[in-house]
Assembly symmetry: C2
Homo-oligomer: 367 residues x 2
């Protein structure tokens, strides 16, 4: 029992749009899952606030039966606030050393009512209109940016921590691949139409995978190009098929039309050895070692993107994988967050963390 | 200074869709204004949490520049949570004896993080989907129903308090009126189409006043009937025109298609002496003394509503006004809430309240 109380106690506040881990789509929930399981493996006492059907080795605390994106009978606004309040109520009892928010801005407004330190990973700013909340609560939450590109000059940050992925879920494939791949939400931001254009100009096959987030865009800009042969759409792909789909590609086309704060699919593709051709926007230059892991192209220059496809053969897929092994593993991300917690909590907790770092996972099973 | 701390300190949490008091439409904000000014007149130390352009003799605390229904550049979700949090943060400093929530369900989820007692006036349940929050926080908020009809059997209430209105804003008119009146949101719930049908069948003129909440309904069900003579739509009407518009009517037609939790316009019409013909739904039987103040008709029976118009001459408009004077004054509402606060806060505050009841308004100006 003494050992229990000596362990670092982290509350992890996930979004409740999707289950943790998500069945197929849900990047915020996916990062929460990777971090949570990584911390549990280090012996940290994690309480995961997430949907009731979530799967974790942490202690699960749930008030939302299912993800509201998976069950339209659930009112998002109702379950958001019930869920967030439950985490802060737990914090108010003194049961958590730190509360780590992955749920955008609403939790910030509860932060002055508890004394528990709040870390907030900003998974992206959906709109300029939400920034006033981050500004108002900048002093009561330790913000973490997920890329240098996503840092705002008008906010103070405690750290920039790139996401990491579990390498064991991604198999290195040395072959040169047989198709170009678009992997992401079907939405103008993500550049599916631009990927189709490049595929057509190069004559390569293209597979598109991802949820349809913008049905009108899908109907008008994507569907007319689908021929079941050269250009194919296969829907949203879960963890099982993802590995072979990414690994079997010649290149991932990531011709984004917005400043993407991070690109999980970019890192996942590279983990299988598949290089990435991306427009130079948002975090892309931070993720892709240009000329080694793929090509980072002037935004909007589809001639250059087309030319880059012809140069993919110059790249060494082993070097692509190695870049992820060096910079984007789950272990590196977990280390970075543990160091942040340590820095924020000070010396007395540092002792507990150093115990946790020994990774005595036998004490950290489901409870 | 000793006198200041002896006064009862109430935080009044208004919605921020509209200014307090609203310029024209905004029934929740209107009730907040009536209650706030009434409490200030009794010497209560009220902090009104509302939009920055609100007008009050209470201490105004504002983080929302304008009502989000009046300025579409404001993100409702962002300003809702900033606004609500500001009230709870004030409560957490111990600066309020009681916090009185008029802002629906979201504030309930902050209630367990402060020790200040929370009173919540439920201005209506917009949907069955929001009820889980009221259930989850029923033990940490003292719910007030605004009518017996709006009480849910699955919730515990501290009181039922009908709204009251400032009688001095409504002039009694003895005349028999020259038109039928529809006064409310243009929305299927409110029965504008049914009012038009009754006006046509009786040959009376009809004036429709109110915001267009459902543009499609307005376009298809209302607009084709507008002839600028017998059936006229005059838009939304502010406080100045409201008195003469209500008082000049033969009857208010309130042929509602939903269980309305309260009807401010019903009480306001009666305050000018104008009787009301209403369908028997929601709170209508509680507001209208049937056969004295108007006629409460079987819901959906437009033959009966049409017949009732022919019997309006039988009613004594003085008796209609008298009913409001007895049951629906601002003073009665303020008394009811003061008694509730007293009951909830117990003896030590009872002493302060009895001081407040002497109405030493000289100490309660804007601060």
């Amino acid at each position: 029992m003494a050992q229990m109380t000596a362990r670092l106690r982290v509350g992890m506040l996930a979004p409740v749009a999707w289950r943790v881990p998500p069945r197929h789509y849900g990047p915020w929930e996916r990062v929460v899952s990777i971090l949570t399981e990584g911390l549990v493996a280090r012996g940290v006492d994690v309480t995961l606030f997430a949907t009731a059907d979530s799967i974790t080795r942490a202690r699960l605390a749930a008030v939302t039966p299912r993800g509201y994106a998976e069950d339209s009978s659930l009112d998002p606004k109702v379950y958001e606030c019930l869920h967030i309040a439950a985490a802060f109520e737990r914090a108010s009892t003194g049961a958590l050393d730190i509360l780590h928010n992955h749920f955008d801005f609403l939790p910030l407004t509860y932060s002055r009512l508890v004394s528990t330190p709040l870390v907030t990973t900003v998974h992206g700013f959906s709109s300029e209109r939400i920034v006033p909340v981050f500004r108002a609560y900048n002093s009561t939450t330790h913000l973490v940016a997920i890329s240098k590109a996503d840092r705002r000059v008008d906010l103070d940050y405690a750290a920039t921590i790139h996401h990491g992925i579990p390498l064991n879920e991604f198999t290195f494939r040395p072959g040169s691949g047989s198709y170009l791949l678009f992997f992401g939400r079907i939405h103008p931001d993500k550049g599916a139409r631009e990927a189709i254009e490049v595929a057509r100009r190069t004559g390569h096959n293209l597979i598109l995978a991802g949820i349809v987030q913008d049905p009108e865009y899908f109907r008008t800009a994507i569907e007319p190009s689908l021929d079941g042969q050269q250009i194919r759409y296969i829907g949203s792909v879960g963890p099982t098929e993802r590995d072979s789909l990414l690994g079997g590609a010649t290149a991932l086309l990531h011709l984004i039309q917005f400043d993407e704060p991070f690109g999980l699919s970019v890192v996942e593709a590279m983990a299988t050895g598949t290089p990435v051709i991306a427009f130079r926007r948002g975090s892309m230059p931070e993720l892709i070692d240009d000329g080694i892991c793929g090509f980072v192209i002037t935004a909007g220059d589809s001639d250059a993107a087309t030319a880059a496809v012809g140069r993919i053969g110059e790249l060494d897929r082993k070097a692509v994988r190695a870049h992820v092994e060096r910079h984007f593993t789950a272990e590196r991300m977990v280390d970075d967050y543990l160091h942040l917690y340590q820095r924020l909590l000070g010396q007395d907790v540092a002792t507990r963390l150093s115990t946790a770092s020994k990774g005595d996972a036998a004490h950290a099973g489901p409870q």
